[in-house]
């Protein structure tokens, strides 16, 4: 039996042929309903646009004030790296490391790797690093918490909004847009389609 274009549902193991998907179409498992794959002819171009925008926005978000807090004539300003650095200062290096990894380092690494992978696919370059990079991207993407952090920011605003004046800085808006582009980048990176294309390059 020819297995080209077939995949097994990750939830219930039923076999499906996804090679007949048209541009913009998605496939779901007919037995358990799990999402299988989406085919987009321009996925590479989209992902390159999203990842490069997201990387620039993350650089902005790390270099300007995120929020400032004013009460009784005093003001304290926070930057994005400080969310991790202050935990370190208070004697919790483990937690500082986790927070920095989840909201800055893992997302940044995933974006750089995605950009490299997509540029290689765009120019149809077969490189030795494609497979390990692909594995790393799909393994790391579960551990980036960009959108969770952003909702955490909104929750904190609700919690302290009545206590004092909170002013959003440039970095806040940059991080909001960064979250959006990051989610779009990951959504564009369809697992089944990308691995078929990596395989096609190498044969």
């Amino acid at each position: 039996m020819n297995l080209e274009g077939f995949l097994a549902c990750p939830s219930c193991d039923v076999l499906f042929d996804i090679s007949t998907l048209e541009d913009g179409e998605s496939a779901h498992c007919s037995r358990c309903g799990h999402f299988l794959s989406t085919y987009r002819a321009d996925a590479t171009q989209r992902v390159i646009a999203y990842t490069s925008s997201a990387l620039m926005l993350l650089a902005l978000a790390c270099s300007y004030p995120f929020m400032s807090f004013k009460a009784s004539g005093l003001e304290s300003v926070m930057t994005l790296p400080q969310t991790a650095l202050n935990l370190w200062h208070y004697g919790m290096p483990g937690l500082a490391f986790l927070v920095a990894a989840f909201i800055i380092f893992i997302p940044a690494l995933v974006l750089v790797l995605m950009l490299a992978l997509n540029v290689a696919l765009l120019f149809e370059r077969d490189c030795d690093w494609l497979r390990p990079v692909g594995r790393l991207i799909y393994w790391l993407q579960n551990w980036s918490m960009v959108e969770v952090f952003f909702i955490g920011v909104l929750v904190s605003l609700v919690k302290i909004g009545h206590m004092a004046t909170v002013i959003m800085g440039l970095s806040f808006w940059a991080y909001a847009l960064f979250s959006l582009f990051f989610v779009l980048s990951l959504a564009g990176l369809d697992r089944a389609q990308y691995w078929q294309r990596i395989e096609a390059l190498q044969s």
Binding site: C12, L15, R31, T83
Partner: protein, 210 residues
Amino acid sequence: MRNVAVDAPLTAASQGLASCHLCLKLAAANQQRCPRCGAALHLRKSNSLERTLALLLTACVLYIPANVLPIMVTDQFGQPTPSTIIGGVVLLIDMGSVAIAAVIFFASVMIPVSKLAMMFYLCWSVRKGPAETVRQRTVLYRITEFIGKWSMIDVFVVAILVALINLSNLLVIRPGAAAMAFAGVVIVSMLAAESFDPRLMWDQREKSDE
């Protein structure tokens, strides 16, 4: 072939094929590594139930210090006030913000507890669950997998408040030990969801059909 799948499902395992957990490649199940991406190849996730249960128990143990110890300490005019997760909710109710208290209670208590309970139920259901609910149970698994990382909100809120509220002698917020324990609960329960294999539930149903 696609249309046949509903009535008589043709599974990869029944054809002697393993689906790579990382790149979804179908390959002969006797191979050690995926021929496409090089990840370790298994017919089903190895020791899935044992691993999931061990991680769930770890999460339950970590959940105790996460609730007993203070998650943050508020220093107002040099006077430290430690607060636990539940304490924060009670404080919000006392201040009259019942809606916010409800949201925080739901996100920091209800979701983590029900996620652990759901995962225990799923593990139990692999062997004993009713065959006709397998589709609903698969959806339940997808929900636990999806909400996993969202429990980290609490930890991020602490990190943000600690970084933002730092008015020398007037008002300072410091992190508490429970923040680390709570991060541990979230990470370990995410690993538990990752090691559970929903296909085991479908395998069991196919066995009972025969």
